[in-house]
C-alpha cells in the first residue's frame, strides 16, 4: 500500500510533460522493480530478463486489466446441511406456535407467536390468557416489527464507542463494591412499571442487599391518579377490575377502555359480547360516554356528552350526588343539556343496580376515581360488575411515579447520585418537563442505560446496554388480573443484548446466571412439588395456573375532598397516542402508518379542537398554532375534530422524537414539553394562537368536507343503523326500507333486484355455483366443497385497528410513509372507514371495516386486460401478482376501492433484519403491481394441506376442511370477534348462519356486484329519555 502511495506521490510530483516520457525511465527504478517483484514474482522475473519498454507497458496494461478482476470476488461457498438431529416438531414450511406474553405497564397480554424455522413472524392471541382471550391489540401485533427494527441498539457502547458486556460488568461491579461499603449509597436504579414477579423479587433483593440504594419508578403513562383515588375511597391501593360483560349500563368517563392498552382486548370482547344483535338475541347493553376528545370509545357510545376534561369531575360530583353518594358539589351548575344527560343516566344507573359500570380514564382526577368506586359501592356493583384486585405491579406498586422521578432528578441535581442504572425507558424524553432530567443527569458520574434502541436518554449516558426484546429473552409477566405468564424466547437475541434480569443479577453478585435460571429459580421456589411438569405446562399453555389475584372485599369511604373552581381558558388534555402510545412505538412504521381510530391521521400528532373553536380562532386543519399553558408552550398543527368538546384541546404524546430512529425522528411535535409535574395530563387555562404557516396532515380519509361526506354517506345507506327497538319490531321491513331508500322513489328495478338478493341470501352460493357450472368457460371451475365468505358485525367493531395491523403483519404489507399517504397511496388491504352523522358538534360516529368484498360479479375481473385478477373456484377474487402489468383499471372499477397499487418500490427488499420478519407464505410485492385482500388465501391453503394430509378421520369424516380451521388474520386478531369467516356451503358454519340474519346486508349490492363480504347492520340502544 505504501508503495502505491509513494509511487503515486512520485508521479504526481512530475510535470505533465515528462509524465509520459519518463514512464520507461521511472519503471526502471529499483523501487518499482522491487515493488513489482513483491506483487507479481513471476512477472518480476520477466522484467528482469527483458526490461523492454513494450513489455513493461504490456505488463502494466495487463495488470491494470487484471486488477479489475478483483471485483469478481468468488462467492463464499455455502453448504446446506440437513439437521443431523431434527429439532423437536420442526417441519420446514410448517410454522410452530409458542405461548408467551407481551409485558405492559397495566398488565401483560398473553400471545401465541408463529415461528417459521426459528423466526418469529406473527403474533396471535392466546385463548387461555385472561387479557387476550385469543385476540390481541395493535400494539402486540406491531411488537414483532420492533424486534426486527434495523435501528435497534446492537452493541454495548461506552461513551459512543463499542465496548463489551464484560467491561460493563467490571465497572458496575466496582461501583457496587465501593457502594457496598456505604450500603449502596449513591447508586440509583430507575425502572418502568414492573409486572414481572422475578424482576420484582430481584429488585427487592437488590434493595435488601444495599439498604441505601434507591429504586425509582417512572412509567410515563402511570396510574398515580387511580392509586390516589383508591386511597381516597378505600384507604388502600386497589385495582378496579371490571367485568364488562356483566354490565347493562356502562359509563365511560374520559376513558379509552375499549382500545388503549392490553386489557382493552378483554374489555372490548366482554363489552361487545352484549351488543351482538341477532334475530333471536335482541338484548343489548348501553354505553354512555362523557369525554373531551373524540375517541374510539366515545364513538361506540349510544349517548355521548362532550365536556372539557377538567369539567368532568364536576359532572361526576353531581352524578354521585344524584345517586345519593355524599360528596360536595361545586357552585357552578351543569348546563341544561348536561343536566338532562345526567338525569337520564342516573335513572338508568339506578334501574340497573348491580349491573352498572363506570370506567374513568387514568388521567381523570383522584376524586373522580374515588367517586367511581363510591358509586359502584352505592349501586352494589362491587363483586358483580367490578372486582377489586391488588395492584398488578410486582415492585413499587405503592410508588407514586411523579414523586419518584422528581426525587430522583432533584437528588441527581444535588449531587447525591454517583451511579444511575436505568432499566429501559427514556426519561430524558418522557420525564416531566420541569424535572429537566437531561441536565440533572450531567451531575451523575456514571450513567448506564439498558435500552432496546438508542434514544434521547442513551445518547447522554456513559453506557448504552442493548436490551433484549421480549421475543428474545426469558422473563415472566403478570396480567391485569394477576395471572402470570412465563415469557419464553422465540429466537436467540439478534444482537448482543441482555435483559434487566441480567443486570440486576450482577448487582446481586450472581453475574452470569442466565435469565432462564433466574426465572426458573423464582418459580421453583414457589412451586416445590412437580415443578418440572408444571413448568412445561406453563410454557405450553402460556399461563401459570392459580396465580390469579384474589379479590378484596372492602367498602368505600366518604369522599371529603372539596371541589375546585371552574377554570377558564382552553383545557388541554395530554393523552397517550392511540397508535404510538407514549412514544414507545414511534420508530415502528406499522404503528405510525396505522390510522388513528376516529381521525384517521397517520404519521403526526395534532392539536385537536372543536369545529366551533377553530372557527372562533380563525384556523383550519393543518394551521400551526401555539398552545401555552402553565408557562410552557408547544407549536403544532390544528386538527378540527367533529364532536370535540368546546373550549378544550387534545394533544397526543409520543411524537417529536429527536433521536427516535429512522422512522420516528422528527415525526410530529413533542408535547411532553407541556407535561410538567403539575400538569401531567394537561391543564386548564391554556391560550391558543395561530402562529402562521400550515402543514399537511396525512389522513387516510378526506377531512375538508364534513357536510358533503356525512350527507352522501347517509343517503347511500353505507353504514345501516337502526335502533334496537325498531329491530325488535320488524327486522325485515327495515332492511328493505334501507335498500329502497338508496334508490328513492325511482327504483324501477325494485322487484327483480329484491328477488335476486333474497335468492342470494337463500343458499345463494349453492345455486350460483350450479349456475356457473353450466356457463361456458366455467366448467369444473366452481368448487362444490368450499365457497368462502365473510360477515362483519358493525355493532361489534370498535375501530381499534388491530385487524389492520394483523393484516400488515400477515401479508407483508409495505409501509409507505407520510408523503405517499398524502398522495393517497396507503397500502393497507383492509381499512376501517369512519362516517360521521348529524351535527358536527356531537356527531354519531360509525365505523366500517372494508376488506376486499370478493364480489361474485367482480367489476375488477372483467376489466383486467391480462387476466391477472380472476375468480377462483372457491369464490375468491384472486390476484396474480406475477401476471399484473399495472394498468390500475381494476382499482378504478372497484366500487369499494380496496385495491392497492405499488406506485413505487414500497417493499423494503434491502434491509436484512426486516427480511426475517416476513411471512414466507406470502409474496413480497415489487413495484408496478396491484395487490389486495385475498381472504388470507395462504391460510386457506394451509388448512387444505392439513385436511388432505390427515385424510378421513373420525373428526373429519368427509376429509374436508372443517369450520374454524381457516381463520383469517383480521378475524383471528379481532378483540370483539366482529369478523366471521368460513365456508358458505356449510350450512352449519357461523358465516352461513350470520348471512341468514335479517340485518345482513351487502355493501353497494344494488350494483349487482354480489359481495361475499357482508355486514350486519349497526344497532343502537338509545335511552328513550334522551332521544
Amino acid at each position: 500500500m505504501n508503495d502505491h502511495t509513494s509511487a503515486a506521490t512520485d508521479l504526481s510530483a512530475k510535470t505533465g510533460k515528462d509524465y509520459w516520457k519518463s514512464l520507461e525511465e521511472y519503471s526502471g527504478t529499483e523501487r518499482f522493480k522491487d515493488w513489482l517483484k513483491r506483487e507479481y514474482p513471476q512477472q518480476a522475473d520477466l522484467l528482469a530478463i527483458a526490461p523492454d519498454r513494450r513489455i513493461v507497458l504490456q505488463l502494466m496494461g495487463a495488470s491494470l486489466a487484471l486488477a479489475g478482476f478483483n471485483a469478481c470476488t468468488k462467492q463464499p461457498e455455502e453448504r446446506i446441511y440437513a439437521y443431523a438431529k431434527n429439532p423437536e416438531a420442526m417441519v420446514p414450511g410448517t410454522p410452530l406456535y409458542f405461548a408467551t406474553a407481551m409485558p405492559w405497564a397495566s398488565g401483560a397480554i398473553g400471545v401465541l407467536v408463529e415461528n417459521h424455522m426459528g423466526r418469529p413472524t406473527k403474533i396471535e392471541g392466546n385463548e387461555a390468557h385472561p387479557s387476550s382471550l385469543g385476540a390481541t391489540d395493535s400494539f402486540a401485533q406491531a411488537s414483532v416489527l420492533d424486534m426486527y427494527d434495523p435501528d435497534r441498539a446492537t452493541a454495548v457502547k461506552r461513551r459512543g464507542r463499542v465496548s463489551t458486556w464484560d467491561e460493563f460488568w467490571g465497572e458496575l461491579r466496582t461501583a457496587v463494591t465501593i457502594a457496598s461499603s456505604k450500603q449502596g449509597e449513591g447508586v440509583r436504579v430507575l425502572t418502568r412499571a414492573v409486572t414481572s414477579p422475578t424482576l420484582g423479587a430481584q429488585l427487592e433483593a437488590v434493595r435488601a442487599a444495599h439498604p441505601n440504594l434507591q429504586v425509582h419508578v417512572w412509567e410515563p403513562m402511570h396510574r398515580d391518579h387511580q392509586r390516589a383515588g383508591s386511597m381516597l375511597a378505600f384507604g388502600r391501593d386497589l385495582n378496579a377490575y371490571a367485568h364488562y360483560g356483566q354490565a347493562k349500563v356502562l359509563v365511560s368517563l374520559d376513558s379509552e377502555f375499549l382500545t388503549l392498552g392490553p386489557d382493552s382486548v378483554r374489555a372490548a370482547r366482554e363489552f361487545t359480547a352484549n351488543r351482538k344483535v341477532r334475530a333471536t338475541e335482541t338484548t343489548m347493553n348501553r354505553l354512555y360516554a362523557v369525554e373531551s376528545g373524540s375517541t374510539a370509545t366515545g364513538a361506540m357510545a349510544d349517548h355521548r356528552l362532550a365536556m372539557r376534561s377538567c369539567d368532568i369531575e364536576r359532572f361526576v360530583r353531581y352524578l354521585a350526588n344524584r345517586l345519593n353518594v355524599a360528596v360536595a358539589v361545586p357552585q357552578e351548575k351543569l348546563t341544561d343539556q348536561e343536566q338532562r344527560f345526567l338525569e337520564a343516566l342516573a335513572k338508568d344507573l339506578e334501574a340497573n343496580k348491580g349491573a352498572a359500570l363506570l370506567v374513568a380514564g387514568a388521567w381523570q382526577t383522584p376524586v373522580v376515581q374515588a367517586l367511581v368506586h363510591a358509586i359502584h359501592d352505592k349501586l352494589g356493583c362491587i363483586g358483580k360488575t367490578v372486582e377489586l384486585l391488588p395492584p398488578v405491579e410486582t415492585f413499587g406498586a405503592d410508588v407514586e411515579n411523579l414523586a419518584s422521578i422528581k426525587a430522583l432528578s432533584d437528588d441527581m441535581r444535588a449531587g447525591k447520585v454517583s451511579m444511575l442504572v436505568m432499566l429501559g425507558g427514556n426519561p430524558v424524553y418522557d420525564a416531566p418537563a420541569d424535572c429537566d432530567f437531561a441536565s440533572a443527569m450531567d451531575k451523575v458520574a456514571t450513567k448506564a442505560h439498558l435500552t432496546s434502541h438508542e434514544n434521547e436518554t442513551s445518547r447522554i449516558c456513559d453506557w448504552l446496554l442493548p436490551e433484549s426484546h421480549f421475543l428474545e429473552a426469558w422473563s415472566d409477566a403478570k396480567a391485569a388480573d394477576g395471572t402470570v405468564t412465563i415469557i419464553q424466547p422465540l429466537i436467540a437475541p439478534l444482537y448482543s443484548s441482555k435483559t434487566a434480569h441480567d443486570v440486576l443479577a450482577l448487582m446481586l453478585d450472581k453475574a452470569g446466571t442466565p435469565a432462564y435460571d433466574l426465572v426458573r429459580a423464582h418459580w421453583s421456589a414457589i412451586k416445590k412439588d412437580g415443578f418440572e411438569l408444571a413448568w412445561r405446562r406453563w410454557l405450553h399453555d402460556g399461563v401459570v395456573e392459580d396465580t390469579r389475584a384474589a379479590s378484596v372485599q372492602v367498602s368505600a369511604k366518604a369522599i371529603t375532598a372539596a371541589p375546585s373552581a371552574v377554570a377558564g381558558g382552553f383545557d388541554v388534555a395530554l393523552r397517550p397516542d392511540p397508535t404510538i402510545y407514549d412514544g414507545r412505538y414511534s420508530n415502528n412504521g406499522w404503528m405510525q402508518e396505522l390510522p388513528k381510530p376516529v381521525s384517521k391521521i397517520t404519521w403526526d400528532n395534532t392539536v385537536q379542537m372543536a369545529p366551533a373553536d377553530a372557527k372562533k380562532l380563525g384556523v383550519n386543519t393543518g394551521d400551526m398554532v401555539e398552545v401555552a399553558v402553565g408557562g410552557r408552550t408547544v407549536v403544532g398543527p390544528v386538527w378540527v375534530a367533529p364532536g370535540h368538546a368546546i373550549g378544550a384541546l387534545t394533544i397526543h404524546l409520543g411524537f417529536g422524537r429527536v433521536h427516535g430512529g429512522k422512522v420516528g425522528t422528527g415525526v410530529g411535535f413533542n408535547s411532553y414539553a407541556l407535561r410538567s409535574t403539575t400538569q401531567q395530563w394537561g391543564a386548564a387555562g391554556a391560550t391558543v394562537k395561530a402562529v402562521g404557516g400550515s402543514m399537511k396532515i396525512a389522513s387516510t380519509q378526506e377531512h375538508d368536507d364534513y357536510e358533503t361526506t356525512a350527507t352522501e354517506a347517509d343517503k347511500r345507506k353505507i353504514v345501516r343503523v337502526r335502533s334496537i327497538d325498531r329491530f325488535k319490531a320488524d327486522p325485515h321491513s327495515l332492511e328493505k326500507e334501507d335498500r329502497h331508500a338508496s334508490h328513492g322513489e325511482t327504483d324501477i328495478y325494485a322487484k327483480p333486484r329484491e328477488a335476486e338478493i333474497d335468492a342470494l341470501r337463500d343458499k345463494a352460493y349453492v345455486k350460483e355455483a350450479a349456475a356457473r357450472k353450466n356457463e361456458q368457460g366455467f366448467n369444473n371451475r366452481v368448487s362444490d366443497d368450499y365457497q368462502w365468505g365473510m360477515v362483519i358485525d358493525l355493532n361489534a367493531c370498535t375501530a381499534c385497528g388491530a385487524c389492520v395491523t394483523a393484516c400488515v403483519a400477515e401479508n407483508n404489507i409495505a409501509v409507505v410513509g407520510k408523503e405517499q399517504i398524502l398522495r393517497g397511496r396507503e397500502m393497507h388491504w383492509l381499512r376501517i372507514d369512519r362516517y360521521y352523522k348529524g351535527d358536527e358538534n356531537n356527531p354519531e360516529v360509525h365505523h366500517q371495516i372494508i376488506p376486499c368484498m370478493q364480489c361474485e360479479n367482480a367489476p375488477c375481473e372483467t376489466v383486467c386486460p391480462v387476466g391477472a385478477t380472476s375468480h377462483g373456484p372457491e369464490g375468491l377474487n384472486e390476484m396474480t401478482y406475477n401476471r399484473c402489468v399495472g394498468t390500475r383499471y381494476c382499482s378504478n372499477n372497484c366500487p369499494y376501492k380496496v385495491r392497492r397499487f405499488n406506485f413505487l418500490l414500497y417493499s423494503d427488499w434491502a434491509t436484512e433484519s426486516l427480511k426475517l420478519q416476513r411471512n414466507p407464505d406470502v409474496s413480497v410485492r415489487s413495484r408496478g403491481v396491484m395487490e389486495k385482500c385475498t381472504y388470507c388465501v395462504q391460510r386457506i391453503n394451509h388448512a387444505r394441506q392439513t385436511a388432505k394430509r390427515e385424510g378421513i378421520t373420525p373428526k373429519r369424516p368427509d376429509g374436508k376442511i372443517r369450520e374454524g380451521e381457516v381463520v383469517t388474520a383480521c378475524q383471528q386478531v379481532c378483540p370483539t370477534d366482529a369478523i366471521a369467516f368460513g365456508n358458505l356451503l356449510d350450512t352449519t358454519s357461523e358465516v352461513y348462519l350470520l348471512k341468514q340474519e335479517p340485518h345482513n346486508y351487502g355493501l353497494l349490492e344494488e350494483l349487482n356486484t354480489k359481495p361475499r363480504t357482508t355486514f350486519l347492520a349497526k344497532t343502537t340502544n338509545k335511552n328513550p329519555e334522551l332521544a
Binding site: 354517506a713 334508490h743 405517499q820 372483467t862 376501492k897 406506485f903 355493501l1003
Partner: protein, 472 residues
C-alpha cells in the same frame, strides 16, 4: 402572420378552393420548393419550432427514463384516482388524430375536393398524434416492460389477454388505426415522392426520394393501382374514424363508475374527437399557411368549412354534456346524482365550467360568418377547443374517479412536475415530428392539387384522376 385578406373580393373568389391563376407548374413549384430548398435557406420560424420540439424531445427522454427506473409513482396518480394525466393525454392525443382520418377517408369518399390542400398535413398530424397517444398506455403501466402481455401471441405461459377488458380492445383499435393511417398516408405520398425525386438536384436527395417513391413511373397501371389502393384504404379507414374513439370511450363506458358508465359515450367521443382534431388542424395550418404563404392553396373557403365542422361537432359535444346532466337526474341513482353535483360544485368544478366555456360557448362565435374567415378568431377558437377537449377528459377521468361510491374512499388528485413534463414532452415530440415532416415531405398533396386546376381537365367530381401525375 400578416393579413392577406383583400377587402374587394368577389364571392366566387372567396369560395374558391384554389386561388385563380395557378397552373399545373406553379402548384408543383410552390409546394416542392418548400421541401427542396437548400438547408441554409430554411425559414427561421421553422428553426424556432424545431428547437422547441427538440427541447420537448429531450424532456420526454428524461421523463421516460426517470419513469421507467423509478415507477409511475413519480406522477400524481393514486387510489382512487388510478388514471389521470396518463389517460387524459392518451385520449386527448388520439382524439386529435381523428381529423386527419376523417379528412383523408370520409371526405375523400364523399368527394369533398376542398379537403385536398389540408389532407396531407392532417394525416401527418394523425400519425404523430397517435404516436404520442400510444406512448401513454404503454408507459402508464406499472411494469411497461411487460406491457406486451396485452398482445395475443402464443406463449409458454399458456395465457391469452383477457378479451373482456376494454383495454385489450384498445390495443387492437389503436394499433389498427395507427397501421392503416400510416399506410394510407404513405400510399398518398408516393406520386409526390416521385415528383420530388425528379425535381431534386442533389444526387443524395434524388436517391432518398427515389427510394421512398418505390419506383413510381407515372404509368397508367400505377395510377390504376394507386386509385384502387386509395379507395380500399379509405374504405377501411372510414369505420375506423368511428370505431377507434368508440372503443376508447368503452374504457370508460364499460366501467361501473358514475360518470363513466354512460351509453352516450361512443358517439359523443367520436364527435369530440373530430371536434378536437379539426381544432388542432386549424392550430397547425394557420401559422404554416402564413409562414409559407400558402394562401392560394388553403383559402378562406377551407377555413370557413373547417369552422363549420368545428361548430357542428361542438354542438354535438354540447348535446353530450347536456345528456349527461339529464341522465344523472333521470337515473334517480344517488351515485349519478352526486357525480353531477360534484362536477358542477365539487373541488374540480372549475374544470367543468372552463370546459363549458371553451368547448360550448366560445365556438358559438362561428355562427357569425366573418368570424369563420378571420384567422385571429379561428386561432383563438381552435386553441380554446384544444384546451376544452383536454379539460373534458380531465372532468371525465379525474372528477369521476376522485369521488365514487364510498365517501370514505374519496380522495384528491394533483399532478406533479413529472406529469407536466411528460405532457410537454409529447407535445415536443409532436412538434419535432411535424416540423420534420414539413421540411422533408410535401405538406400539401401536389398531384391532387393539380387536379383542381381547370387546366388539368378534371371537370366532374366523379371523374378519374389520370390527368394528374408528375411532370417535368
Amino acid at each position: 402572420m400578416s393579413d392577406h385578406m383583400h377587402d374587394q373580393r368577389d364571392q366566387k373568389q372567396q369560395d374558391a378552393i384554389i386561388a385563380p391563376g395557378h397552373t399545373l407548374a406553379t402548384i408543383t413549384d410552390k409546394i416542392s420548393e418548400i421541401v427542396l430548398t437548400p438547408p441554409l435557406k430554411t425559414p427561421l420560424g421553422w428553426h424556432a419550432m424545431m428547437g422547441i420540439g427538440s427541447i420537448g424531445m429531450l424532456l420526454l427522454g428524461a421523463t421516460v427514463t426517470k419513469l421507467v427506473f423509478t415507477g409511475i409513482g413519480i406522477w400524481g396518480n393514486n387510489v382512487p384516482v388510478g388514471w389521470a394525466f396518463d389517460i387524459i393525454n392518451f385520449v386527448w392525443w388520439i382524439g386529435i388524430g381523428h381529423a386527419g382520418t376523417l379528412i383523408s377517408a370520409i371526405l375523400m369518399l364523399l368527394r369533398q375536393t376542398w379537403r385536398t390542400s389540408i389532407n396531407r398535413a392532417a394525416e401527418a398530424m394523425t400519425i404523430f398524434a397517435v404516436s404520442c397517444a400510444g406512448m401513454y398506455p404503454l408507459l402508464h403501466t406499472g411494469r411497461p416492460w411487460l406491457a406486451y402481455w396485452l398482445l395475443p401471441y402464443p406463449n409458454t405461459m399458456g395465457m391469452w389477454p383477457q378479451f373482456r377488458s376494454p383495454l385489450v380492445w384498445d390495443v387492437f383499435a389503436v394499433s389498427t388505426y395507427a397501421t392503416v393511417s400510416l399506410l394510407f398516408w404513405y400510399t398518398g405520398l408516393i406520386p409526390d415522392l416521385a415528383t420530388l425525386r425528379d425535381r431534386a438536384k442533389h444526387k443524395a436527395v434524388k436517391l432518398f426520394y427515389g427510394m421512398l417513391a418505390m419506383g413510381w413511373r407515372n404509368a397508367a397501371s400505377h395510377w390504376d393501382r394507386y386509385e384502387t389502393a386509395s379507395l380500399i384504404l379509405a374504405g377501411i379507414s372510414t369505420p375506423l374514424v368511428l370505431s377507434v374513439h368508440s372503443v376508447v370511450s368503452f374504457d370508460f363506458a364499460a366501467g361501473i363508475l358514475p360518470g363513466w358508465h354512460t351509453t352516450v359515450f361512443p358517439p359523443y367521443f367520436v364527435a369530440g374527437a373530430i371536434f378536437a382534431g379539426f381544432a388542432m388542424v386549424l392550430t397547425l395550418m394557420l401559422p404554416l399557411r402564413a409562414a409559407y404563404g400558402l394562401h392560394d392553396f388553403i383559402t378562406e373557403k377551407h377555413l370557413d368549412v373547417m369552422a363549420k365542422v368545428l361548430l357542428a361537432t361542438g354542438l354535438i359535444v354540447t348535446y353530450g354534456y347536456a345528456l349527461e346532466v339529464f341522465m344523472a337526474w333521470y337515473s334517480g341513482s344517488p351515485y349519478e346524482e352526486y357525480m353531477l353535483i360534484n362536477r358542477l360544485t365539487g373541488p374540480y368544478a372549475w374544470t367543468y365550467w372552463a370546459l363549458i366555456l371553451t368547448n360550448c360557448t366560445i365556438p358559438q362565435l362561428f355562427w357569425y360568418g366573418p368570424a369563420r374567415r378571420n384567422i385571429w378568431a379561428l386561432f383563438f377558437v381552435s386553441m380554446s377547443v384544444n384546451i376544452g377537449m383536454w379539460l373534458e377528459r380531465f372532468v371525465i377521468i379525474v372528477t369521476s374517479l376522485h369521488r365514487d361510491f364510498l365517501p370514505a374512499s374519496w380522495g384528491h388528485y394533483a399532478p406533479t412536475v413529472w406529469d407536466w413534463s411528460m405532457y410537454a414532452g409529447t407535445i415536443g415530440f409532436f412538434l419535432f415530428s411535424f416540423f420534420l415532416f414539413v421540411r422533408v415531405l410535401p405538406m400539401i398533396a401536389m398531384f391532387e392539387m393539380r387536379m383542381l386546376v381547370p387546366a388539368s381537365g378534371v371537370t366532374g367530381k366523379d371523374s378519374d384522376h389520370k390527368h394528374g401525375g408528375s411532370h417535368h
